[in-house]
Amino acid sequence: MATLELKNVTKIFGDFTAVKNFNLDVKDGEMIALLGGSGCGKTTTLRMIAGFTEPTEGAIFVGGKDVGKIPPYKRNVGIFFQNYALFPHMTVFENVAFGLKLQKLPKAEIEQRVSEILGMVKLFGLEKRYPRELSGGQQQRVALARALVTRPTILLLDEPLSNLDAKLRVEMQVEIKRIQKELGITTIIVTHDHEEAVSLADRVIVMNAGQILQVGTPYEIFDHPNSTFIADFMGFSTFIQGTMGGAAVEGKRPVTCSGKTIYVFAEAAEGIEPGSACVLALRSEHMELVQEPGENVVEGVMEAATYKGHTTRLEVTGCFDEKIYPAANEYIELEAEKPVMVHLPVERLCVYKNNA
C-alpha cells in the first residue's frame, strides 16, 4: 500500500509517441481508472508502472521512491491481465501460491493465505482444478486472487470486466470494489469501457493520443465531459451545432440552433462569447418525449425506432439540421414521418465551443 506518482512520463517507440508528458498523483488506497480507446497509451502506462517497459523520459515514484531502476520482479506490483494469463500447467492452488512460494514462506502459511484469498474471491473447492477446467468467471477470480495474495503495494487491473457476460460483470464489479476497499490497495484500472471506469474508480482519467484530456470523479466525467470528444466517448448521442446568444437571463442563455432557440445554463456556457459557434451535447436517455410545446421543446418527425428491451431509441429529424436520438422507457412502434415533440432538459445540456 503506497502512493503512486508519475512525473512527466513519456514513452516513445521509434517515431511513435505512445505516452506524452504524463503526470499523475494517486493517493494511498485510491482507485484510478485510465479510460481511452485503443492506442491511447493507457496500456503502455500500465506496463511502465509494472516495470515491463521503461519510460523514455520522466520518473515513476511508489511511496515516494523512484522505482526506475527496480526490475519488475522486485516491484511488488500485482497485475490482473485482460486474458487472465493463468499458468496453464498449474492447478488453481499452484497458480495462487506461485508468488508466495517464491517468497519462501512456510508451507502452512502459504496454505492459510491461499485459502483465505480464495475465500475472499468466493472460489471454494476448486484448488486442484486446472485453468482450462474452469469457466471464464472462475478463471478471472483465480487471476484476481493470484494478483492479490502477495499483498502488492499497487494493483493494476487491465480491462477487468471486459470478457464477462452482463450478469457476471455486475457481480465482479461489486466484488472488485469490495476487495479493493477491504485491502486498501492503491489500484489502477485500464479500460476502454466508460461504464467499467465510472462504476469502479474513485477518479477517472480520460486519455487520448498519449495525453490526459480530463481528470475527474466518475460523476463529473460521465455528466460533464469537458469536450465533445470525451462526450462522444462517454456515450453522448446527440450533438447540435448552434450560435451562442447574449447575456444570461435568470441564469440561462439562449442558443440559436437551426433557427430555434434552446436555453442552456449560464454556468455550463461559461467562457463562450456571445455570437460564437458552439455545440450542444446530450444523452439519449436524458431527452423526453412530451405532448405539449414549451421551453426547449422541439418538433420533428420519427425516422427510425430501435427497441432495446428497457428503452426504445428513436431517430428524429426536422428539429435541427442534425438528427437527434431520444430514448423512451417504453416500447414504441416505428411510424415513419409521425410528428413527435422532444424536450431537451436545460439541466442536462452540455455546451462546448465549436473549434472546428
Binding site: A50, G51, F52, P71, P72, Y73, K74, R75, N76, V77, G78, I79, F81, N83, Y84, A85, L86, F87, P88, H89, F98, G99, L102, Q103, Y130, P131, R132, G136, Q139, R146, A147, T150, N163
Partner: protein, 278 residues
C-alpha cells in the same frame, strides 16, 4: 456421413502411395527373410558384438546430436518467438536455408573444414596452438558435428511453434509475482514448452538414427551406423537377410523409444492439452 466420405477420399492418394511404395515392400522383405532363414538373421544380430556395437554407436550419436541440437536450438527459437523485429522473416529464411543445400554438399563442406589439411587445422597450426594436425575428419566427432548442423533447423522450427503459442503475459505475470528471469524460465516457460521439446527431440532423434549420408561421408570407412550397415550388407556382403534384419531392428528401436517417450509424457501432455487458457 457425406463429409466423412469426402475427407476419406482426400486422404486416399497419399495413403495408397504409402501402402504401395512403403508398406508392401517392407512386409515383402520381412516375409522373404523369415521364409529363407527363419529368425536366424535377427538372432545373429543380437549375439554378435560387432552388430551390437553398431547399434550402440547409432543410439549414442543420435542422443548426443539431439541433446546438442536442443541446447543450441532453444535459445534461437526463444529469441525468434519473442522478437518483434521486422527481421524475423529473414531469420526464419536463414534457419531454413540449409534445407536448400543437400546433405552431401554440406558434408563435403565439413570435410573442407575438418580435414587434416583443412581450414581449422591450418588455422590452429598457423596460430601455433597445436604442432600436429588434429584428426577430426573420419571420427565420430565429425559425424556428430555434421548431424547437428543438419538437424538444428528441424529442432528450431519445432520449438518455435510451441514457444510462439505461449502467451507473453504469462511470463509477465510470473515477473510481477516476484520470479526473476531464471525462475520464470524454469517454472513457466520451460514446462510450457515441453510439447515442442518432445516433438523436436523425437523428430531429430529419428532423423539421426536413420541418417546415411552424414556418417558415410564424415565418419570414414571404419565408422558404421545402422543405415550405413544396411547398405554395406547389400552392396558389399550381398546378405539381404542381414540387411532386412538390421532395417527391422532399427525400425523397432525407434518405435520403442518413441513409445516410451509418449507413454512417459502422456499424463503431462494430457494436462497441457488445450492448455492455453482464455
Amino acid at each position: 456421413m457425406d463429409r466423412k466420405r469426402r475427407a476419406f477420399l482426400l486422404a486416399l492418394p497419399a495413403s495408397l502411395a504409402l501402402l504401395i511404395f512403403f508398406i508392401v515392400p517392407m512386409v515383402y522383405i520381412l516375409v522373404k527373410t523369415i521364409a529363407t532363414n527363419g529368425f536366424q538373421d535377427f538372432v545373429d544380430f543380437f549375439t554378435d558384438p560387432f552388430y551390437l556395437d553398431i547399434l550402440w554407436t547409432t543410439i549414442r550419436v543420435s542422443l548426443i546430436s539431439t541433446f546438442v541440437s536442443l541446447l543450441l536450438g532453444y535459445p534461437t527459437a526463444y529469441f525468434m518467438a519473442r522478437t518483434k523485429s521486422r527481421m524475423k522473416k529473414v531469420m526464419i529464411i536463414i534457419i531454413l536455408f540449409p534445407f536448400l543445400v543437400s546433405a552431401v554438399v554440406r558434408s563435403y563442406g565439413w570435410m573442407v573444414l575438418l580435414g587434416t589439411n583443412g581450414l581449422i587445422n591450418q588455422l590452429l597450426l598457423g596460430i601455433g596452438i597445436i604442432s600436429e594436425p588434429l584428426k577430426m575428419l573420419n571420427t565420430e566427432f565429425a559425424v556428430i558435428v555434421g548431424m547437428i548442423h543438419l538437424l538444428i533447423p528441424y529442432m528450431v522450427l519445432a520449438l518455435l511453434g510451441v514457444l510462439q503459442s505461449i502467451d507473453p503475459n504469462v511470463e509477465y505475470a510470473a515477473y510481477s509475482l516476484g520470479a526473476n528471469p531464471l525462475q520464470t524460465f524454469a517454472k513457466v516457460v520451460f514446462p510450457l514448452s515441453t510439447p515442442g521439446i518432445i516433438s523436436g527431440c523425437v523428430l531429430v532423434f529419428t532423423m539421426s538414427m536413420t541418417s546415411y549420408v552424414t556418417p558415410k561421408l564424415l565418419g570414414g570407412s571404419k565408422f558404421r551406423m545402422m543405415a550405413t550397415m544396411v547398405v554395406q550388407e547389400i552392396n558389399v556382403n550381398f546378405d539381404w537377410g542381414a540387411a532386412a534384419a538390421i532395417s527391422y531392428i532399427l525400425l523397432a528401436v525407434i518405435l520403442v523409444i518413441q513409445l516410451l517417450v509418449t507413454l512417459s509424457t502422456a499424463n503431462y501432455m494430457k494436462r497441457m492439452g488445450g492448455g492455453k487458457n482464455a
